[in-house]
């Protein structure tokens, strides 16, 4: 990449990804380049592929849930082309690492709305929570507990009582109780992850 083009990119990204300053944007672009070289995608010129992204999520932020990791990838991948461009990378991280509460609510809702229809349905919740309970041999139907938990979550958050969570429902619930931001599973970096290797990388932009 030419110096001039890099300058232009930094210039435009530090305006669109408003939580980073120029220096930070420059570092993230360099990190993007590193990840690119690891990617074996045919579209190397556009961005890196899903595997590299999921790898990063797992390594740097300790994420393990496949369903959610995939949804995080989809949320980052605004162009819907199965690879993360440098713009998607930097702008996505701006919300992921330093987003305001509003930005993060919007981001999380998008992650949890598995089919992208604007609602988190009972089924989607079930899907996301299905591994959240330890298997209890005494329970006749192991799904019974999950359904119960979905009911509890709905009771707590479904303000208009239509049996599913709209963005408005979700936003109101989280504003009342911040703990519900990641109600259906971890999709944001966790404070407790402070491994030295990460510090040098992405997490150092998080505070």
């Amino acid at each position: 990449m030419s110096k001039k083009r890099l300058q232009q990119l930094v210039e435009s990204l530090s305006r669109s990804a408003k939580h980073f300053n120029r220096g930070e944007v420059e570092c993230l672009i360099r990190l993007f380049d590193t990840l690119m070289s690891a990617s074996h995608s045919r579209f190397a010129a556009v961005g890196f592929d899903r595997n590299v992204f999921l790898d990063t999520l797992h390594r740097d932020f300790g994420m393990t849930d496949d369903v959610l990791m995939d949804r995080v990838f989809r949320t980052f991948d605004r162009g819907n082309d199965n690879c993360i461009s440098v713009v998607e990378w930097v702008e996505g991280l701006s919300v992921f690492l330093r987003g305001t509460l509003e930005e993060r609510i919007k981001y999380c809702f998008e992650v949890y709305d598995l089919n992208g229809d604007g609602y988190i349905s009972r089924e989607e919740m079930f899907q996301m929570l299905k591994n959240s309970l330890l298997k209890q041999p005494s329970e006749e139907d192991p799904d019974e507990g999950i359904k119960d938990l979905v009911d509890i979550a709905l009771k707590k958050m479904d303000h208009d009582h239509d049996g599913k969570l709209s963005f408005a429902d979700f936003e109101e619930a989280v504003k009342n109780e911040n703990l519900l931001l990641e109600a259906f599973g971890p999709c944001l970096p966790d404070v407790k992850v402070h491994q030295p290797s990460v510090k040098k990388n992405i997490s150092s932009y998080y505070f």
Partner: protein
């Protein structure tokens, strides 16, 4: 009056026969009423007054022949009335000091001429005639203990014959009966307090007290033992011949701060008996309803430690009850099924399942759902504990999951408002984990932990747990706001304030333990508190001032509050809009203003005016207590008194003297006492009508209040106009009665107060003599071990001795040897008043010689080496008086008095000069006479 005298009056002898009436307020009021009745009898019932008694009332009078005038034939030591009975015998006959009176006319007259000693006379009469009605009307009118049928008998007699004599008798009997009823009514208050004790009640109380007694500083008593191990079948330990008097048992009690007390527990109550080595059954004190009430009057240490024990016990009781709730009631509840359990119980139990068996995501959902229950409700709080959910919540604190920790703390913070939950959290070692969380980098989490600690650390064990696990240091750390960075200042400042607020709340709860106060100081908390005190947010100011006023009990804090400039801010916040904050500021000033520099600072920062203004808010009693306390302590400095005068504080305080809780009254009266330093305030108190309520407070029982009231009344008495009112209200008698109070401070202040009273009362000598047994009482106080009591009593004796007749009486009571015993003291205050007392007591009989014989002279000479000019003056005067006796002169000379006195002759103090010169002259004269005799 038969019944009243037999039942209500307090006689010293436990049995019947002759006894003496004690000087107690009750007896005095009974006697006063009887005197008034007898005195007015001749004018109100002239016919009945002529009725001749069946037998004369006979007693030893103090009245001399000279007192009788017209209507009496006086022949040397014999006086007889001109009026004679039908039998030709005089109706009044006085031979030597023996007096016989045979009708009410004479009795009234006798009391009328005996202006000053009425009470004493009535007392002597009643002591010698235990059932006067029998003597007056005949044995058929006697009071039969247990029933009063005299009226019925009279009616029967009336029917039988219509002899005018009987009708007269009946009328007198009715009059006497009316008096009896009146006396009984007026003493009803006292009598109604006579809760009748029984052996079981006494035994319970003894066992309770035994639990709290033993060696060590914090017990309520050193020991308490029955005098006898043998218990009769009725539960009494007293021997049968004493049981007939209602006595149950005898105890020897050793308090921490007084001599051992020998007490009698009787059905009428508890009182001190005369026993030391063996039981002397005679009653020596008032009767109290139980042992605890008795000890409250006797031992300040008992009161203090008892209060501590009670609060400890409350904690223990609530603790053990929480255990029994869980162990015993819970299984029963399970068996009973849903019918008895509130629906919340099942809802919470369902959520608890997901707390136990869920990953962090499920846990957070369950925690958030649980907060939808009304956690302020005890049903929910106890449900959480009873289904074991509390343990899960505490375990969640020990995970790495911040969201779970926050969710759990949000619940714990709410439910720890409940005392049972607090104890359970401590039992489950929850505090240790919360203290650990204070190290977390997450501010929200730290704040929640601190707020929860603030709730939990409301009892002793919890507070020490916080300290033992290093919580105090970490909480003080929350007050530190070095994390403020130059960038993004505003949001960080808000976060810092919130963090400090939570830390301060927790420290406030913890600061109720002395060791924690010390720990806060050692952790560097004081400068941080000083910093936050400059804040303008009431949320942070209230806990910060709360901590400061709590810690101001420690001298180190008081010094720091002064030197770190905190007084200015405390004063500033006296004008806050928030009453709680105002109260804590006033409390802090109350505690700190013990130090003079602080009092000056309060004035310099303009704090006296807002304090005065706050007196108008008399509805909030806690605030009023703090404000009046602050005014009291500030008024110790004379400059502040002048300021308070400007703000008309004395007027306001007098206005608050009625209908206040005792804790407020103590402070108001304390403040008035200090305001009296300025003479103008003494007149203001009078003009505002403050003297009657003050005198009335002298009859109270609260020791702290009595200490202040005696001081205030004494200060008022320095104005002759005030003294007239005090005298009229019988205030001096009340002060005198307080000399019997067990509290040494009350005794001393009462004695100090008596001094100006004697100086300023009209006919002070007569007044003092009218207090039956009063002189003996005050002389005996010279046996006290308390220096302040001794000094005050010496000062009172100095004043008493100015009246020659009284000096004679106290001499008979042995004042000279008692004063002589005290001379070997180093205390200058005592020396000053002792020397004064000695010089005044020299004025009677052989007292000068007796002082010499009791070896009082040589030590007095050494007083001249003291550095206190007041001691010099008093001593020189005493020596001058003593030098009138030749052998004293020799003793003085041997002890090198001349050289010391010669130095004093050059003093600028004229009184000292004269006394010193006079003493030297006496010594020289003796020397010359001796020379002359030798060589003459």
């Amino acid at each position: 009056m038969g019944a009243a005298l037999a039942r209500a009056a307090q006689w010293t002898a436990a049995g019947s026969g002759t006894g003496t009436l004690e000087i107690t307020p009750l007896n005095e009021s009974l006697l006063n009423q009887i005197v008034k009745f007898a005195e007015d009898f001749s004018t109100r019932h002239p016919q009945e007054a002529a009725f001749v008694f069946r037998e004369p009332l006979e007693w030893k009078t103090q009245l001399g022949c000279s007192a009788f005038g017209e209507g009496y034939e006086i022949d040397e030591a014999t006086v007889q009335s001109e009026a004679k009975g039908e039998d030709g015998q005089p109706l009044l006959l006085l031979t030597a000091s023996n007096i016989k009176v045979r009708n009410f006319d004479q009795l009234s007259h006798l009391l009328q001429i005996n202006v000053d000693k009425k009470l004493k006379e009535a007392q002597a009469c009643l002591e010698a005639n235990r059932d006067p009605i029998v003597k007056i009307l005949g044995p058929e009118y006697g009071t039969v203990e247990g029933e009063d049928t005299s009226m019925l008998r009279l009616l029967e007699k009336m029917k039988e014959d219509d002899d005018p004599q009987t009708e007269m008798k009946m009328k007198i009997a009715i009059l006497l009966h009316q008096l009896d009823m009146q006396l009984l009514n007026s003493s009803l208050k006292h009598i109604s307090q006579d809760v009748r004790l029984n052996p079981a009640a006494v035994n319970n109380e003894v066992n309770l007290l035994k639990n709290f007694s033993g060696k060590g500083e914090d017990t309520v008593l050193e020991s308490l033992e029955y005098t006898s191990d043998y218990t009769f079948s009725n539960g009494c330990r007293a021997p049968p011949w004493r049981q007939v008097h209602g006595e149950i048992c005898y105890l020897i009690i050793k308090p921490h701060d007084t001599d051992p007390l020998c007490i009698t527990c009787s059905t009428a109550g508890v009182f001190l008996n005369g026993g030391k080595d063996e039981i002397d059954y005679e009653r020596k004190s008032d009767v109290y309803k139980d042992i605890v009430t008795f000890l409250r009057e006797r031992s300040p240490k008992f009161v203090e430690n008892m209060a501590n024990k009670m609060s400890d016990m409350f904690e223990e009781v609530s603790e053990s009850s929480s255990e029994t709730d869980e162990d015993e009631e819970q299984p029963v509840r399970h068996q009973e099924g849903s019918t008895d359990l509130p629906s919340e119980y099942w809802g919470i139990q369902k959520l608890a399942k997901y707390l136990r068996g869920g990953n962090p995501t499920a846990t957070v959902i369950a925690l958030c759902a649980m907060r939808d229950f009304n956690l302020a409700q005890e049903t929910c709080q106890l449900a959480i504990r009873d289904i074991g959910c509390l343990e899960v919540l505490i375990n969640l604190l020990d995970t790495e999951e911040i969201k779970c920790q926050i969710g759990s703390l949000k619940i714990l913070k709410e439910i720890s408002q409940n005392i049972l939950i607090r104890h359970a959290i401590v039992d489950l070692e929850g505090l240790q984990i919360m203290v650990k969380i204070l190290d977390s980098p997450d501010t929200d989490l730290k704040c929640l932990a601190a707020e929860t600690i603030a709730n939990v650390a409301r009892f002793k064990r919890a507070r020490s747990t916080v300290r033992h696990y290093g919580g105090i240091k970490r909480l003080v750390g929350l007050l530190d706001c070095t994390s403020v960075r130059s960038t993004a200042l505003i949001p960080y400042q808000a976060k810092d304030t919130e963090k400090a607020r939570c830390g301060a709340l927790a420290l406030w709860s913890c600061s109720k333990s002395t060791k924690n106060k010390e720990a806060i100081r050692k952790a560097g908390g004081i400068p941080l508190l000083a910093k936050w005190l400059k804040s303008s947010h009431v949320d942070i100011l209230t806990p910060v001032v709360g901590i400061l006023q709590e810690c101001a009990s420690e001298p180190s804090y008081r010094l720091a509050i002064r030197t770190e400039g905190m007084i200015e801010n405390l004063v500033k916040n006296l004008s806050s809009e928030h009453e709680e904050l105002q109260m804590h500021c006033a409390s802090a000033i109350f505690k700190c203003a013990e130090d003079k520099e602080t009092r000056d600072l309060v004035r310099q920062h303009g704090g006296l005016q807002p304090l005065s203004v706050l007196l108008n808010n008399s509805e909030n009693k806690k605030l009023l207590a703090a404000v009046t306390g602050a005014i009291w302590k500030c008024a110790i400095s004379a400059e502040n008194v002048s300021k308070f005068h400007e703000y008309k504080v004395t007027e306001a305080l007098v206005g608050l003297l009625t209908d206040q809780p005792e804790e407020v009254l103590v402070n108001i009266v304390g403040a008035l006492g200090e305001c009296c330093q300025e003479p103008v305030n003494r007149s203001i108190i009078r003009k505002c009508g403050g003297i009657p309520p003050l005198v009335k407070l002298l009859t109270g029982t609260n020791q702290a209040l009595l200490v202040n009231v005696t001081k205030a009344v004494g200060a008022c008495a320095t104005e002759p106009e005030n003294m007239m009112i005090i005298d009229r209200l019988d205030g001096v008698r009340l002060l005198w009665s307080l000399l019997k109070n067990p509290n040494a401070d009350v005794q001393a202040n009462a004695a100090w107060a008596i001094c100006p009273c004697i100086e300023n009362a009209k006919d002070a000598g007569e007044m003092v003599r009218s207090f039956v047994g009063g002189l003996e009482l005050i002389v005996n106080l010279l046996k006290s071990k308390n220096k302040e009591v001794l000094a005050s009593v010496c000062a009172a004796i100095t004043n008493i001795a100015k009246d020659e007749e009284n000096l004679a009486v106290i001499t008979d009571h042995g004042v000279v040897p008692l004063l002589s015993k005290l001379v070997n003291t180093n205390n200058d205050k005592l020396r000053h008043h002792l020397a004064d007392a000695i010089s005044h007591c020299c004025m009677w009989g052989n007292n000068r010689v007796t002082f010499g014989e009791n070896k009082a002279v040589a030590p007095l000479v050494h007083y001249l080496k003291s550095n206190d000019p007041l001691v010099h003056r008093a001593t020189a005067q005493a020596l001058y008086q003593l030098s009138e006796d030749p052998s004293n002169c020799i003793t003085m000379h041997e002890n090198g008095v001349v050289k010391l006195l010669l130095a004093m002759v050059g003093s600028t103090d004229e009184t000292l000069q004269e006394a010193a010169a006079g003493c030297i002259a006496n010594i020289r004269r003796l020397a010359l006479a001796t020379e002359k005799a030798k060589y003459g």
